[in-house]
């Protein structure tokens, strides 16, 4: 390798290293705002300001879903859990198709009290597993199902 080529290699590598360092530091500093949602445990530590919009993510807790009749339409009540902490959510609006017990959801709304949230929007989160329904049923039947684990 000639001297010139080595020089260009160092310039090129140096530019990349500098850019990677700058971006890495920025992302580390901003990691709190890059995160799309907080889990209930993170939210408990965070001491969220009431009436400021915030996103909460977790699984819909077993047996927590109930609907309340109101004159403006149905209000859904459910609990979002990450296994460590829980937040009670109320939401007046159309729930996504994937919404069900054990499903990952991201709730956008405001904290009205500690561990109580009024939602403006509910998004469903699906996991990284893809399989035909028959396979999913067979796995559940054999007790090998491990996708609804809390916190996953």
């Amino acid at each position: 390798m000639t001297k010139k080529k080595r020089q260009r290699l160092f310039v090129f590598g140096g530019v990349f290293a500098a850019a990677a360092l700058a971006v890495g530091l920025t992302l580390t500093a901003l990691s709190g705002s890059i995160t799309y949602f907080y889990t209930p445990s993170e939210l408990a530590k965070l001491d969220a300001t009431p009436d400021r919009p915030i996103r909460l993510g977790g699984l819909v807790a077993e047996g927590s879903v109930r609907y309340e009749q109101a004159n403006t339409g149905d209000i859904a009540h459910f609990t979002v859990t990450d296994g460590g902490a829980e937040v009670a959510v109320s939401y007046a609006g159309v729930l996504p198709d994937l919404f069900r017990v054990g499903q990952g959801v991201v709730v956008q709304g405001r904290m009205t009290d500690a561990n109580v949230m009024a939602a403006d929007n509910v998004l469903a989160k699906h996991d990284e597993s893809y399989m035909p329904k028959e396979v999913a049923d067979a796995l559940k039947e054999q007790g090998l199902w491990q996708h609804d684990e809390v916190g996953s």
Partner: protein
């Protein structure tokens, strides 16, 4: 510098002879793999246990997202070869990869949006994965704009290469965004430590489609590289034509 074997392939005339045959092969591969891939994707693969028929969007979305990152990596590697070793064809390869990569990125963004609405309930979310892919799209656009903004090709290649390598920082961020931060987008399904979490019957169409996209990229790249080389030759000839009688004609 001595004429070594690597410079034989870098010779544009040599390249064009190989490129013609390779283009035909790549085009045939893309069409055949794409036909089989789409047949499996649309007719001969199961619906998902959670997502139902909507899962079929995966077969166009995931390959597009992979190619978006692959093309950028290829562009950065070719830029490095052009910048450091002054490889005559590397700059052309990097330049011609950009619009193809931008196309794949756009396709990934659009199909992802169409998938997000029925599954998540939102067309778009400012989630780390989605945002970093949008930044990738802007990087491609910026790279292409830079090439157009500077008339001197040698200078343009140098500056564009710097932009490409700076932007390459974004590629690992896209890949790991779903692991580093809580995101709406689900984590990796194929490249992960404990093996794919996609059932075999769904992996067949997915890999066929990835092959089709890859072959399509190769075919498009070779065609547009040939185009660019021809355009440069034409520009050089026109330049010679106008400079020769410079003493006689007032310009």
């Amino acid at each position: 510098m001595s004429a070594t074997s690597i410079y034989e392939y870098a010779n544009p005339a040599q390249f064009e002879r190989v490129a013609d045959r390779a283009f035909t092969l790549a085009l045939i591969a893309a069409l055949v793999l794409g036909a089989f891939g789409l047949y499996f994707a649309l007719f001969n693969s199961p619906a998902d246990y959670q997502q139902g028929e909507t899962v079929r969007i995966m077969y166009v979305h995931v390959p597009a997202a992979w190619m978006a990152m692959f093309c950028y990596s290829a562009m950065a590697a070719a830029s490095a070869a052009g910048f450091i070793w002054k490889h005559p064809l590397a700059d052309v390869a990097a330049k011609e990869t950009a619009p193809i990569g931008a196309g794949f990125t756009f396709l990934a963004l659009v199909t992802g949006s169409l998938w997000g609405k029925p599954m998540w309930g939102a067309w778009w979310a400012w989630d780390a994965r989605l945002t970093s892919v949008l930044i990738l799209f802007f990087l491609y656009i910026g790279y292409m704009t830079l090439w157009r903004a500077i008339p001197d090709k040698t200078r343009a290649a140098k500056l564009a290469a710097i932009l490409a390598i700076v932007g390459f920082v974004n590629v690992p961020i896209i890949k790991f965004s779903v692991d580093w931060w809580n995101s709406l987008h689900q984590p990796a399904s194929i490249i992960r430590a404990d093996g794919p979490t996609i059932h075999g019957s769904m992996l067949t169409p997915l890999f066929l489609m990835i092959g089709a996209y890859m072959a399509g990229y190769v075919a498009m790249l070779l065609a547009s590289m040939k185009n660019e080389l021809a355009a440069r030759r034409l520009a050089r000839m026109e330049q010679l034509e106008t400079t020769k009688p410079a003493g006689l004609v007032e310009r």
